[in-house]
Symmetry: D2
C-alpha cells in the first residue's frame, strides 16, 4: 500500500481523497489544508491524519506520494518540495499562473528526475481517450480539424474569479491540453473575447466566453469554444474530423430516459451537472495511471512540460485576444 | 399520358389527385364523388372533369386507369367495374369489410386478368422499403422478431368509427400487411384489446388500442402495437431483429432542430402529424409503381390477394381478442 | 457495521460481494459455496471467511443478514433458514421454480415476520426507476401501454439451460416483475414461442425467444419481447405510453463516441455487454435499499409475495404458450 | 402566371427550372445559356424557349422576372440589365468577386428601385429558418455564440476552383450570410487557413479548409468551420447558444433507418449528398418568397446589400488569413 498525502480538501480534493481510499494499492495518510477544520473533517471521513503544517507532511518518511489540490498559488511550492523530497506528485492544473516562475523553477527540479503528473483529467475520460486512440490508430485518416466545446454550468464565485488568472489560464487550459493531446505541438493561436464582458467578469478584468483557433505543427486546425455559464449542464463535447471520417464525443446524460409529449419529443434530461459528475471515471482512471507510474517507478504523463505548454498557450491566447493578432508559438521570452 | 379517373375526394383522394397531376405520365381526367360540390371543387383545382355518376366515368373510353379513394362500402363495386372494364385500378384498403364478399367476387374477376393494386402505401415508404430490402439481402441474417408500432395522433370522428369495421380492419390492417411484407404468410394470431374500452369507441363496439402477436410460416414472431390517439404525433416505427443484427425505423421529424435548456436537452419537435405528412413520399412512390405497372402492362403489387390476406388477419385478430384463444390461419370457411 | 453472509460466488455472487464490501455500513463476513475452492478464492479476495457448510454460517450469531446468490434449487431452503433465524435476506430470483413449494413454505415463514427482499434488480436501475416515478407522478397521464424489451447477448451454457426452468421462469421473470412494477396486478397472459426451437434450446425443452401480452388490472396492456441472443449487446429497453405522452428507456453505451464515415454516420459502439455492466448501478442501489431496510428494521421490497407473483406469471405464460389460450390470473390451484 | 427567364442551366439552374415549373404562379419562358445545346435540352425538358442571346431575352416584354444561375462573371451584368429593365431578379451568390465593381454598380442601379434577391438559399431552409425565428422570439434568451459547420462532400473540379474566387468568396460566403442572418452586422473577422494547402487547392492559390471567428455588433461571437471534402456527405450544422439554452440543427438523413450489429449500434446512413438534396425544400421556399415579392410588388430579401455584405466578409477573412490579424468591418476603401 502506497501512503498518499493530500494537500487541499475543496471539491477536487474530495474527489482525490475518494480515489485514494478506493484504490487497492493506496491509502490516504495525510490531509493538509490551511483551514484546520476542513483538514480535520476530511481526514476523519477518510481515516487519515489532519494537519495545517506542510512541514509535518514532508517530515513523514512513510509518505510515498503527494497529491496537490490546494489553491493555485501554493501549487509550485508544494510541487517543488515533493520533487526535492523525491516523491511522485500529482498536481492539479495549472502549475502556476506565471510562465516565468515555471521556467525558473525547472533548473532546480530537473536534477531530481521529477516524477510529476499534471491533473489534466480529461485525457483519461473514457470517451475522449477512446477517440484519441481511434484517431491515432488511423480510423479517420489524417486529422484535419478538431473542435472542442467546454461550457461550465454556472460562473464561479467572484472571489474565485479574482484569483483565477483569467478564462484562458483557468478554463481554456483544459482545452489547450486536449488540443495538444490530439495535435501535438501548437504553433499559432488566435483568440476572440467579448469587448464588453458581462458582470462579474468585467469587474475582475475577465470575460465570460472565448473562442480560439489553434494551428497544429502538422497542419491541422482546431477551434475551442468556452462559455462560463450554460443552463443545460456541463457542455463537454469534442469532434475530430479527418480524411476518412469523424469521431464525436456527445454530451452525457444521467439516465437514458427520453420523453415525448404534445410539445416536444425525445427530450433528455439536463446533462451531468459539472466536473465531479461528468469526469468521475476520468479522475479514477487518472489516479490509476498515477499509481501505476509509482508502482513501476516510471515518469507519469501528462508531465511538467505538458503543464507548462498549456499555460504558454493560455498566455498566447491572452495576447492574441488583447492585440487582435495571431500569436506564434513558442513565445519569445521577452514578448 | 395516361388519363386517370379518381373516385372519392376526401383527404386521401386529395393526395392521389396531387400524385396524378404531378406525375410526368399521367393526368387527372375525372373526379367522381357522390357529393357534387366536393367533386367540382377538386376537379377544378386539378383541371379535371367532375361528376357524381359512376357510369359516366366508365363510359369514357379515354380513361386508362382508375384510382379508388371512395368510402369503403363502394370499394368492391368500383374495383369490380374497373376490372370488368379491363382497366388497371389502384384501390385504397380495405377491399371490403367482409371476407365472404371478397371471396365471392373473385371468380367473376379472375377471368379478366385483373390488374389490381391495393393501397398499402407503407410498403413504398422509403424507410420501411429500405429495411425490407436490407433484411431480404441478408444484412441481419435470419429474421427472428418483427415489431410494428402504429399510433394515430387522434381518434377519427364517431361517424367514421361507426363504419370503419373496427380497429383491426381499419387501422391494424396496414400493420398486418407490413407483417406480410416482411414475414410472408402468417399462420397464427393472438390479440388483446381492452375489456372496458374508452368512449367513443365503446359506443361503436370498438376499442382504442390493440396488441397483437403473429407467427410467420418460417417461424419468426411479430408484435403489433396500436393506439388510436397519441399526443406527440403519428407514431410509426418498426424494428426487424435477426441473427446478425437489427434494423429500426425511427419516427420522422419536420426539421432537424434540437433544443436544450434548463429542464430538457436534445428535444425535438412533435413528429410529422399524420399519414398525409408522414407518408407523402410513400404515396408518391406507390403511385409511381402503379404507373410503371400500367406502362409495362404488368400486374401491380400488392395485389387483390394481398388485400384479402390482410383482411383475413383482421378477422382472425378479432376472433382471437373476443375468445381469448390463438387463431390459426388460413381461417376455416365455416368458422 | 452489519456483517453479511453470502451464499454462492458465481458471477452474480461477485457483484454482491463487491457491493457488500464497498458499502459504508456492511462488511462481508462469510462466503459459502459447495465448491470449497470457489468460496476460498472469493473470501480471500474480499477479506471474508470461506466455508462449504451452510450450518457454520447460520451458527455464527454475529451475522446480521444473508445474501443468497446460490443455485436456484438452494434458494428456498436458504431463504427459509434465514427467515427462521430472524435474519434479513436478499435472495436472487426465482424463490423456487415450483409455485407449490413457494406456497407451502409460506405458512412456516409468515409467523417470523420475514424480512425478505427479492433480487429484482431492474426496479433499482436509475433509468427504469425514474420512468416509474415519473409515470406514478402523472407525467404521461394514465398509463395505457407498456413495452419491455429484453435480449441477452448470448445463450447460457446448455448445463445452465437444463436447470433454468425455461425461458419464462429464468429470463422473462424479470420482465414480469417490471410489468408489475408499472401496472400492479396482472390479470391475463398470452404468450407465443417458436414451434420449432433452435438448438440447444430444443434439446432442453426450452425456446430461444418469446413474445408475451399482459393485461393489467386497471386496463393497461403490456408487451414483452425476449430473445436469448443478440449480436449488438444486452438489449434492455422499456416504453411507457400514456394519455399525455411517452417515456422511453434507451439502451446504454460504454462511451458517448459517435463515428461517421463513408458507409455509416452517427454509429455508436455495441451496448453494454450484459447484466454485470448494464445493471452495475442497479445492483448497488438494490443493496443500498436492502441495507436501509435492515438499518431501519423495515420489511424490504420487492417482497416474497412479489417473487411469488412473478413466478405465477411465468407459469401462466408457459401454459398460454403451450395451449394457445389466454390464461387468467390468479391461477386456480388445480390448473 | 408570371413568365420567368432563366440564365444558366447547370446544376443549380436545373433546380430553379424545376421550382419555376412547379410553382402555381410561374412558368419558365426562356432558358438562356452560352452553350446552345445545354439551353435547348433544358428548355425542351421544361417546355420553354431556348436561346444563347441575352438580348433576345431582354427584348421579350412578356418576361416578368429573371433568375440568374449563370457563371459568376456574368452575374453583375445580367443583374444590372434586369434592374435597368425594371424586372425583379433572383441572382445566385456572389454578385461578383470584386467589391469595387459591386460598389461601382450601385449608383447606376439605385435609381431603378431595384428588386434584387440574392440566392442565399439557406435562410429558407426549414431547419435554419425555424432556429432563427425561435432565437428571434427569445427562446434561448440573448444569443451569445453561434457555430456554423459546412463541409462539402467532395472538392469541385479544378477548373471550377480556378474561377471560384477562393474558399471565402465561394464557400464560406453562405456561412457569412448565415452569420448575418442571426447576428446582424459583423464588426470583426479572424480567419485561419492551412499554410501548406492540399492539391489541387494549392495550385489555384486556394485552400481546402478554413476556420473563422466573427464578432457581431451586439457582442455575440461566431465560429465557422469549412472543409472542401467530407466522406460522410454534406455536413451542414448550426448551433445557436444563448443565456437560456441552445438550438441545434443536426444533419439530415435520407431515411430514418438505424442499424445495429456486432460492431456498431444505431448507425445511420451517410447524410444527404449535397446541396441539391439537402436544400431541396430551401430552394423551393426561396423561390416562393421571390414570387411572393413579385406578386406583392415588394423588395425581396436577402437584398443586394446583403450580397455585398457577405462578400465584404469574404474579403476581410482573406486579409485576416493572409496577415494573421483581426480585420475590422466595414473595410476601409483603401485597404
Amino acid at each position: 500500500m502506497f501512503r498518499i498525502a493530500l494537500f487541499g480538501c475543496g471539491r477536487i480534493g474530495q474527489v482525490h481523497a475518494t480515489s485514494i481510499t478506493n484504490h487497492d494499492q493506496t491509502e490516504l495518510a495525510w490531509v493538509c489544508d490551511p483551514v484546520a477544520e476542513a483538514a480535520e473533517t476530511t481526514a476523519s471521513r477518510f481515516g487519515a491524519r489532519a494537519t495545517t503544517s506542510v512541514e509535518e507532511v514532508f517530515a513523514d518518511p512513510s509518505v510515498h506520494a503527494i497529491v496537490i489540490a490546494a489553491a493555485t498559488p501554493a501549487h509550485l511550492d508544494l510541487l517543488s518540495r515533493s520533487v526535492e523530497a523525491g516523491k511522485p506528485v500529482l498536481c492539479e492544473k495549472p502549475i502556476d499562473l506565471d510562465l516565468v516562475r515555471i521556467d525558473e523553477a525547472w533548473p532546480r527540479l530537473a536534477p531530481h528526475e521529477p516524477r510529476v503528473m499534471l491533473g489534466f483529467n480529461r485525457r483519461f475520460d473514457p470517451t475522449f481517450a477512446e477517440i484519441q486512440q481511434r484517431v491515432a490508430a488511423g480510423e479517420i485518416g489524417t486529422l484535419r480539424q478538431l473542435r472542442i466545446t467546454s461550457r461550465d454550468p454556472e460562473p464561479p464565485p467572484q472571489t474565485y474569479l479574482a484569483a483565477s488568472g483569467g478564462i484562458f489560464r483557468d478554463m481554456t487550459i483544459h482545452d489547450f491540453d486536449m488540443a495538444r493531446f490530439f495535435l501535438g505541438d501548437i504553433v499559432e493561436v488566435q483568440a476572440m473575447v467579448p469587448t464588453a464582458p458581462e458582470s462579474p467578469f468585467a469587474e475582475e478584468g475577465d470575460v465570460e466566453q472565448a473562442m480560439v483557433l489553434l494551428r497544429g505543427a502538422d497542419g491541422a486546425l482546431c477551434q475551442v469554444t468556452n462559455h462560463r455559464s450554460c443552463t443545460f449542464g456541463y457542455d463537454q463535447r469534442l469532434e475530430a474530423f479527418g480524411d476518412l471520417g469523424m469521431l464525436e464525443a456527445a454530451n452525457q446524460l444521467p439516465t437514458s430516459v427520453r420523453a415525448s409529449g404534445a410539445t416536444a419529443t425525445e427530450s433528455a434530461q439536463p446533462y451531468l451537472r459539472f466536473f465531479v459528475e461528468r469526469y468521475q471515471d476520468a479522475y479514477r482512471a487518472e489516479f490509476d495511471a498515477f499509481v501505476a507510474a509509482i508502482a513501476h517507478d516510471e515518469a507519469p504523463s501528462p508531465s511538467y512540460a505538458d503543464g507548462r505548454a498549456a499555460l504558454e498557450l493560455a498566455e498566447a491566447a491572452e495576447r492574441s485576444a488583447a492585440k487582435g493578432t495571431a500569436v506564434r508559438l513558442p513565445l519569445a521570452a521577452a514578448s
